[in-house]
């Protein structure tokens, strides 16, 4: 009586283990392929200007909106501005409504693709939610270009 029960328990464990392996294997395969296709790399304006950023791949750029660069194309919803890390600037084109806290001279992060003419077409533009919050990408871009001058770390409020 004891032996078959032990064997049944073992078989059950094996079945569960097998199922778990299949599940984890599928998840691992899915994750790896998805990483390959969908990982969005962050580039600084300097990367873009020095042709270190690939063309026609989804990427994220960050920096400050260059002072005086914002223009609205008459008769359309298109907006143009330049994102700068104070070393180089990238022209950005965006169709749509800019976030409420979008300002010239302030930090911005844009998702989109770079065309061969050097213009970045944004599908999404993100600004802060909070007056005192600097997107980490913007801080990163300024640090890499050596123009980081903040005396306090970003978001030192509260």
């Amino acid at each position: 009586m004891k032996l078959p029960k032990a064997r049944a328990a073992k078989r059950k464990r094996m079945a569960v283990l097998l199922l778990a392996m299949i599940g984890l294997g599928t998840a691992a395969a899915l994750t790896l392929t998805a990483f390959d296709d969908h990982l969005v790399f962050f580039r600084t304006p300097t990367d873009v200007a020095t042709h270190k950023a690939p063309l026609d791949r989804q990427m994220r750029i960050g920096g400050l909106v260059e002072e005086g660069s914002l223009e609205r194309v008459a008769g359309s919803t298109e907006v143009r501005f330049r994102v700068t890390d104070l070393e180089h600037a990238v022209p950005v084109v965006y169709r749509g409504v800019l976030p409420d806290l979008f300002r010239e001279g302030q930090g911005v992060v844009a998702n989109g693709k770079l065309a061969s003419n050097g213009v970045f077409t944004a599908s999404e533009v993100l600004a802060r939610h909070d007056e005192n919050y600097m997107p980490p990408e913007v801080a990163e871009a300024l640090k890499r270009s050596g123009r980081w001058q903040h005396t306090e770390p970003p978001g030192a409020k509260n």
Partner: protein
């Protein structure tokens, strides 16, 4: 006066929690009833003290006491009363006090309602709960004191972030915390069981109501947050796979797995060590969520300014809690006796499949959320993981799970015949196929995947209904019999039917809003007319509006359907002078089948929105200029949240099940096994 009282109450609460985390546990180890009995008054005292502190904080906000730094930073005398109150927890310090309050509330609830708990288990559980309390109260007292004074007091406050001045967000944190912190009690139960070295059906039955309550609150919290993002951010979407969203979603997924594995532990005395592990993981992920949101390490559009130093403290709590509990688990879990056997094709097997898929899905969300942080920490490239990643990993794992949901309850315990289960489900299968064909016939976009997803939603809803119909013998017995069977059906069974149907409704909403959303972005001048998804919009122009603590420009759209006025939509852009920021207020018109969603942007030619002086959108209000408008038609989107609400109701109904209230569970596993139910 109130701030000092609150501060002292917090410090006293910390002392009480320290005592509570030592004495009852020591008493349980030494089998000393007097020491164990200290747990109950200590739990009450801790709750009373934290409640007093929280009350003092709310009072300071209500009377706009600008000698308190926290009030200065997050309130304003002109702010509406609701947001003065909710401002108390709309900031870091206050939200941590709320966290501690809910922690103490759950402790006191176990002390009050756990009358039928064995004294040893109760004492140990309350001690563990108090240890968590010590950690968070120390965090508040030493790094995040909400009662710091400022001198000299400023004449007025800096106002709460306007995005947070919203009824949805006023109640989002309390619900979310009820969920997060609710898992702490389940965690404490798991730790107590490991210390005792005993997990049985009675234990599982004690744990289940707390899991249900926590999971239900978390469902509500996440749904409310997503609803807020939908109408307040003005982006037309409701879920962005943002790290902060994922942080609350992971404990929800593991909590759902725990909910199901606890059934097996209760009814079949199996999967016990697994259930304990899930209880640990659910709370660990709640702590991870708190750490991610409160430490400021996230690259997130949702992230608000936070202090990185505090992250280290929460990280320490996280490491001690997770490391300690997993070590205890590794040491004690092998001593737990394995329970009932079952075949792979059985109710237990179905629930194991549920757990595997939910666990794996949690793992993919975890990797997607933390991989960018990990890569950055080791000095790698700066990357972000967006919705496409989660669509490619999470969604494929959900499809088999959703298919399995309707099979599970049809299968018998221990062993089942798949063929027989199919026979009972053929009506649901036929109806789902019908829905797929109907969708393909009606849908002009011929979206095949969306049609299949609609079929999946129908499969969930009809599967749940048919299971219920079989139990009450609908159409097979006289109505009187059906009625009495329905009345006598265990509330847990009702809860399952409702929750599974709610999941189906949610899938319906997700599918509709993802597959058939229409977006129109265009410039509009007063008098312009245009069509969106069969509705005719006429832009009537803009006007200036004054609110209690904001100035707004309101755009007016008349919407016609079949030549008749259907709605007047009035999206706004608001300037909050005290906080110095602007928000977009979407105007939403729903008929429960679809939402019309309108937002207004900036006027044409506005060179620099919000530069020195009043922003262009205010100076141009009422002028004859072109504005950027963004209009969405979101089919079925209300069902995302209504589905979540139905799931919450299901969990709530299950919570009222008789067996959670009457019939003190016996520690003898045989007596604890129910015979009639299910």
């Amino acid at each position: 006066m109130a701030p000092e009282l609150g501060h002292i109450a917090l410090i006293l609460a910390l002392c009480v929690a320290l005592i509570q985390s030592v004495l009852p546990l020591a008493g349980a180890q030494a089998r000393d009833p007097a020491l164990m009995a200290t747990a109950k008054p200590a739990a009450y005292a801790q709750f009373f003290l934290v409640a007093l502190a929280f009350g003092c904080l709310i009072y300071s906000f209500v009377v706009s006491d600008f000698t308190v730094e926290n009030v200065v930073r997050n309130s304003h005398s002109a702010k509406p009363m609701l947001y003065k109150v909710s401002g108390a927890w709309g900031n870091h310090e206050g939200s941590m006090v709320l966290w501690a309050l809910i922690l103490a509330l759950f402790g006191a609830a176990v002390a009050a309602f756990g009358r039928n708990l064995p004294p040893g288990l109760k004492a140990r559980t309350l001690s563990i709960q108090a240890m968590i309390g010590v950690a968070f109260l120390a965090f508040i007292v030493f790094t995040s004191n909400p009662f710091n004074r400022v001198f000299p007091p400023p004449p007025d406050g800096q106002d709460l972030n306007p995005l947070l001045q919203d009824p949805g967000l006023a109640f989002h944190p309390p619900l979310l915390y009820l969920g997060y912190v609710g898992f702490s009690i389940v965690f404490a139960f798991a730790m107590a069981a490991l210390i005792e070295g005993r997990v049985d059906a009675a234990w599982a039955r004690w744990v289940r109501p707390w899991t249900l309550a926590a999971w239900s609150a978390l469902t509500g919290g996440i749904a409310l947050g997503s609803w807020w993002a939908y109408y307040e951010l003005g982006w037309g979407g409701w879920w962005f796979w943002d790290p902060v969203e994922n942080a609350s979603f992971m404990p929800w997924l593991v909590g759902a797995a725990l909910l199901h594995s606890a059934i097996v532990a209760e009814k079949r005395d199996a999967l016990k060590t697994w259930t304990i592990l899930l209880a640990i993981l659910a709370f660990a992920l709640s702590l991870v969520g708190t750490f991610l949101v409160r430490s400021g390490i996230l690259t997130s559009v949702h992230a608000f300014a936070v202090d990185p130093k505090r992250g280290v403290f929460i990280l320490a709590i996280l490491i001690i809690a997770v490391g300690g509990s997993l070590a205890l688990y590794a040491w004690r879990a092998p001593m737990l006796k394995a329970g009932g056997l079952f075949q792979p094709i059985s109710r237990e097997g179905g629930l194991v499949l549920n757990n595997l898929l939910l666990g794996t899905a949690t793992a993919t969300v975890f990797i997607g959320t933390l991989y960018p942080l990990f890569l950055e920490a080791i000095g790698g490239a700066k990357v972000s993981v967006g919705p496409p990643f989660f669509n490619a990993t999470f969604v494929p794992l959900m499809v088999p799970l959703l298919i399995a949901v309707s099979f599970g309850p049809m299968m018998g315990w221990k062993r089942a015949e798949l063929g027989a289960v199919f026979q009972r489900l053929w009506v649901a299968l036929a109806l789902s196929l019908g829905v797929i064909l109907l969708t393909l016939a009606v849908d002009k976009t011929r979206h095949v995947l969306a049609a299949l997803a609609m079929g999946l939603a129908a499969w969930l809803i009809f599967g749940a209904l048919i299971e219920w119909a079989e139990r009450v013998k609908l159409f097979r017995a006289p109505l009187a019999t059906v009625w009495s069977r329905a009345v006598n059906l265990p509330r847990a069974a009702w809860g399952m039917t409702i929750a599974h149907a709610g999941l189906g409704l949610m899938v319906l909403g997700i599918t509709g809003s993802t597959a058939w959303q229409t977006e129109v972005i265009r410039l509009v001048r007063a008098g312009d007319a245009f069509d969106v998804a069969g509705y005719s919009f006429v832009f009537k122009g803009t006007q200036r509006q004054e609110g209690p603590n904001f100035i707004a420009t309101r755009a007016v759209f008349e919407v016609y359907k079949n030549e008749r006025l259907y709605a007047v939509m009035t999206p706004e852009k608001r300037l909050f002078p005290a906080a110095g920021s602007t928000t977009t207020e979407a105007s939403i018109r729903t008929n429960l089948l679809a939402d019309l969603y309108a937002t207004i942007g900036d006027p044409e030619g506005a060179g620099q929105p919000g530069a020195a002086g009043p922003p262009a959108f205010l100076t141009q209000a009422g002028q004859d200029v072109a504005w950027t408008a963004r209009i969405y038609h979101n089919p079925l989107v209300p069902w995302v949240w209504l589905g979540a609400l139905v799931m919450m109701i299901g969990a709530g109904v299950s919570l009222t099940d008789r067996r959670h209230r009457v019939g003190a569970p016996q520690r003898l596993p045989q007596a604890a096994l129910p015979t009639a139910a299910e």
